[in-house]
């Protein structure tokens, strides 16, 4: 067990290092630079800027300097903002995104599997149709349309729900809901199909024939086994939700991390590209690891080591 954990930890660090290295060199290979713009940029000014941000040094040297700083936890100055460092931006953006994400996750986890299970139990009856229509809507309607619909039909009609912006808990309601739709739908569909499969298994019949109450059969035997596929997608779902959705944040005017991912690239804001990428990589790696561990607790058949009995 310990050995496995250490191995996973080492793998995680190597993964993150590889992400840093590949992103760094790819980013510099892409045409454009942080200071190019459709406007005047005299050479003097350009040279001063290159010097200020250390871009005048050879790329390899920049890479070594960057790695050293990252080890110290310093992501450097944003090349577009003279106000905040990359660390500042992540520190302020992440809690905002994570809050919306956590609320969305809560909604998805509470309602997704429940709807799925309900659908399976009442297969081809009204609850099934109802939840599957909802799920199909959730999967097929893109979030920017969902968000716009929410604004148009909810925010514009309910005076206490703001249309966009950030400030109070009320500002978080619609974006959380819009963000929750997709994972909720995914979970519902996964849950439904795995639940159907489980319900047909022999051990369910055995349990039923032993005279256990229906609710006990469902909760103790069916749901517990059916939930596994849902848990397996939690790692990526959580990391996606926590670091923010560019689309949702743009539509609702939310100052989260999401917009940094795209803005930093179109601005060629090198330090911000690196900072957000590394941050995302760390979260993703950490959560995948957690999910692996979670598997072990839920399903005793899965052993992480050969000798782990």
């Amino acid at each position: 067990m310990k050995k496995y954990l250490l191995k996973r930890l080492a793998m995680s660090i190597i993964t993150i290092w590889a992400v840093i290295t590949i992103t760094f060199f790819l980013m510099h290979a892409v045409p454009g630079n942080p200071f190019a713009k459709e406007g005047k940029m005299p050479k003097v000014v350009y040279d001063n800027l290159q010097k200020k941000y250390g871009l005048d040094k050879p790329l390899r040297e920049q890479y070594v300097i960057y790695l050293k700083n990252v080890l110290k936890g310093d992501f450097g100055d944003s090349m577009k903002s003279r106000v905040e460092t990359v660390n500042d931006m992540i520190e302020r953006g992440f809690p905002v995104s994570a809050r919306i994400g956590a609320q969305a996750l809560l909604i998805a986890i509470v309602f997704g599997p429940a709807l799925g299970a309900l659908a399976a139990l009442y297969q081809n009856k009204f609850p099934d149709y109802f939840s599957m229509v909802l799920a199909i809507l959730g999967i097929s309607v893109p979030s920017f349309i969902m968000g716009t619909i929410f604004i148009q039909f909810i925010a514009k009609n309910v005076s206490w729900i703001p249309i966009g912006g950030w400030g109070t808990w009320r500002h978080t309601l619609l974006p959380s809901l819009a963000l929750a739709m997709m994972p909720l739908a995914h979970m519902a569909r996964l849950m439904r199909s795995s639940m159907l499969e489980v319900l047909g298994q022999d051990y369910i019949k055995t349990a039923q024939s032993k005279g256990i109450t229906k609710s006990a059969v469902i909760l103790k035997h069916a749901v517990r086994n059916a939930i596994l596929p849902v848990v397996s997608i939690l790692g990526t779902t959580i990391s996606n939700l926590l670091v923010g959705s560019f689309v949702i944040e743009k539509i609702f005017g939310i100052p989260g991390l999401g917009s940094f991912f795209t803005k930093s690239i179109s601005n060629r804001d090198y330090t911000l590209i690196m900072g957000t990428t590394i941050f995302y990589a760390i979260i993703l790696v950490a959560l995948l690891f957690t999910v692996d561990l979670a598997y072990m607790f839920i399903d005793p058949r899965i052993k992480l080591t050969q000798e782990g009995r």
Binding site: V30, P31, G32, N33, F35, A36, K37, E38, G39, K40, M41, P42, K43, V44, V45, N48, K51, K80, S81, R82, V83, E84, M89, R92, F94, P95, V96, A98, R99, A102, Q103, L105, L106, T148, I151, Q152, A155, K156, P162, I163, G164, G165, W166, G167, T168, W169, R224, I227, I238, L242, K250, I251, F252, G253, P255, S259, S266, T290, F297, I298
Partner: protein, 557 residues
């Protein structure tokens, strides 16, 4: 459900909560994130007059020296004031300076500051503050993007900016508390107007020296304009309140300006319709078109000095031929592009210098120049074919080359590119392909000359035709068409070297005529800046080179 499962779920949820930095469950209503203001945006209770608008993106800095564009300057223009300012009629008027003297050689300007002018913290505004601010803006260590706005004009400026000259040789000098003397490199007829530009705004020397991070937070931000900054939530909101220390405070009716920072035009438009804003820009193109059709009085088609055009790569055959270039230009139905596609009140381009600039007699510059780009299909076709023949090509040869119009990915550019493609196909019988790329890639390829035709646009920096004429000077950093005409260069230099308005404007008019006779670029339209304003808002005016000015606005609800 098994206990273990509950335990796992709880752990995951708790972990998520920990990440959010909240100590309570995330959906508990009373919790606000550390960044968010805890107050509700409640309706203003005391009848305070607060104008609500939106600043489309987070300012990269609120230090005047480091500002680069409208997302910074809209706030700066309301919180700072330069020696001069632009008044309601678009004329240069006295700002912090009460008076000025210009030497006979038009090189030395001596400004005298007003009496009793103060910073928002109560300190007096002195000539030293200006000297300090301007020299700081061109400090190579500060590496300000807009440093050239000062360095290009002031004597010794560029030498210092490049790190070669010394600060002492920069000819900006506070003679005493109230007198500032500036010597220029060459006579510059629009220098007075430049002092109204944000790079020339003063900063409080004591504040900046004591705290280099002064401009990063509303608590330490000090300014000298009609409003001062009271709150800045990054990427969320900016608040300004009336500065009672401002010399013209009696005429300022607003108690403050609240700006949100939301970049989605559709969302902010919904909010404007929902009554959450008093004034809004930019507004979605489709909304502008609709409002214009309906004659909606809330739409204001604000003027702007900007030109939308296509670069023709003058180094690529047959675009090296002026007749070919003119053929392409004359074959574009620019009125259809403005009325049916751009739909924001833009005007078909008549040259490169847009409407709104004043000539030596204080009249509209374009009056004396007139429309230099006819829309004439026969002429276009003749010129185009003649030009091709001169280059030994036929239409088929041209089409076989597969020329491409390059534009940066954006819906509005795409529509205009498609319209141009279709007009050229119908009117000249030629095929031009379209290619969209990331903005940065477009800039890169233009600089490298790796394109045939490319979309471009230029918004004037100051109110003088030179801000446009200068672009096609052979050595200009923005001459992506690679136009090179010694006669044109000579006229540009002539206009730049004199303060004699008649000589200057003659030279600029002649230059524009030459340019449009050779057509290194294809001008399409002159920009506008539409904005929406509720009927109860009055007193807003729009200087052509700025966003709408709210200084003297009023709310009459």
């Amino acid at each position: 459900m098994s206990k273990k499962f509950f335990v796992l779920m709880s752990i995951l949820l708790v972990a998520a909560m920990v990440f959010t930095g909240c100590s309570k469950p995330a959906d508990a209503p009373e919790v606000a994130t550390p960044d968010a203001p805890t107050d509700e945006p409640a309706p203003e209770p005391t009848g305070e007059k607060i104008l609500r608008a939106n600043n489309a993106s987070e300012p990269g800095s609120l230090d005047p020296a480091l500002a680069q564009g409208t997302h910074e300057s809209w706030v700066l223009d309301h919180s700072f004031e330069g020696l001069m300012k632009l008044d309601q009629e678009g004329h240069v008027a006295s700002g912090m300076a009460e008076d000025y003297k210009i030497s006979d050689d038009f090189l030395t300007y001596t400004f005298t500051l007003r009496d009793g002018i103060k910073w928002s913290n109560g300190d007096p505004v002195t000539a030293e503050d200006f000297e300090f601010a301007w020299k700081r803006a061109i400090d190579p260590e500060l590496a300000a993007d807009y440093a050239f706005q000062i360095a290009d004009y002031v004597k010794g400026g560029n030498a210092y900016l490049s790190g070669e000259g010394s600060l002492d040789d920069v000819a900006i000098k506070a003679l005493d508390d109230k007198t500032l003397e500036v010597t220029l490199e060459a006579p510059t007829a629009y220098f007075l107007e430049l002092t109204a530009f944000y790079t020339y705004y003063p900063v409080n020397k004591n504040v900046v020296e004591a705290n280099p991070d002064w401009a990063k937070s509303a608590d330490t931000h000090v300014s000298n304009g009609p409003f001062y900054l009271t709150e800045w939530e990054h990427d969320a909101s900016l608040k300004m309140r009336k500065n009672d220390n401002y010399y013209d405070a009696d005429k300022v009716h607003l108690d403050g300006i609240d700006l949100t920072i939301i970049d989605d035009e559709n969302t902010t438009w919904q909010a404007y319709e929902g009554g959450e804003y008093d004034l809004l820009l930019p507004i979605p193109q489709a909304v502008v078109a609709k409002m214009k059709d309906e004659g909606n009085p809330e739409l204001v088609l604000g003027g702007e000095v900007g030109t939308y055009y296509f670069n023709l790569n003058n180094d690529v055959k047959p675009f090296n031929n002026a007749k070919v270039r003119k053929g392409l230009s004359y074959a574009l139905d620019k009125a259809t592009i403005t009325d049916k596609i751009a739909q924001g009140g833009q005007m078909p381009a008549e040259g490169v210098v847009p409407f709104g600039m004043f000539d030596e007699d204080g009249k509209e510059y374009r009056d004396k120049v007139g429309n230099l780009i006819p829309y004439d299909l026969d002429l276009a076709k003749n010129l185009f074919e003649e030009g091709l023949a001169e280059e030994g090509m036929t239409i088929d040869d041209f089409n076989s080359k597969g020329f491409v119009l390059l534009y940066n990915t954006q819906e509005s550019h795409k529509k205009i590119a498609q319209a141009a493609q279709e007009m050229w196909r119908t009117n000249l019988g030629i095929e031009i392909g379209l290619e969209n790329v990331d903005f940065q890639v477009k800039l890169d390829r233009e600089k490298a000359g790796d394109y045939d035709i490319s979309r471009a646009g230029w918004i004037g920096d100051y109110m003088d035709p030179m801000t446009f004429i200068d672009l096609w000077y052979s050595k200009s950093s923005f001459n992506d068409a690679n136009y090179n005409n010694p006669k044109y260069d000579e006229l540009v230099l002539k206009a730049k070297s004199t303060a004699d308005q008649k000589v200057r404007f003659e030279a600029m008019r002649e230059a524009e005529n030459i340019l449009m006779d050779e057509m290194p670029i294809v001008p399409v339209y002159f920009y506008t800046q539409p904005y929406a304003q509720k009927p109860y808002v009055t007193g807003v005016y729009k200087p052509l080179v700025n966003y709408p000015r709210l200084t003297y606005a009023d709310i009459n609800k």
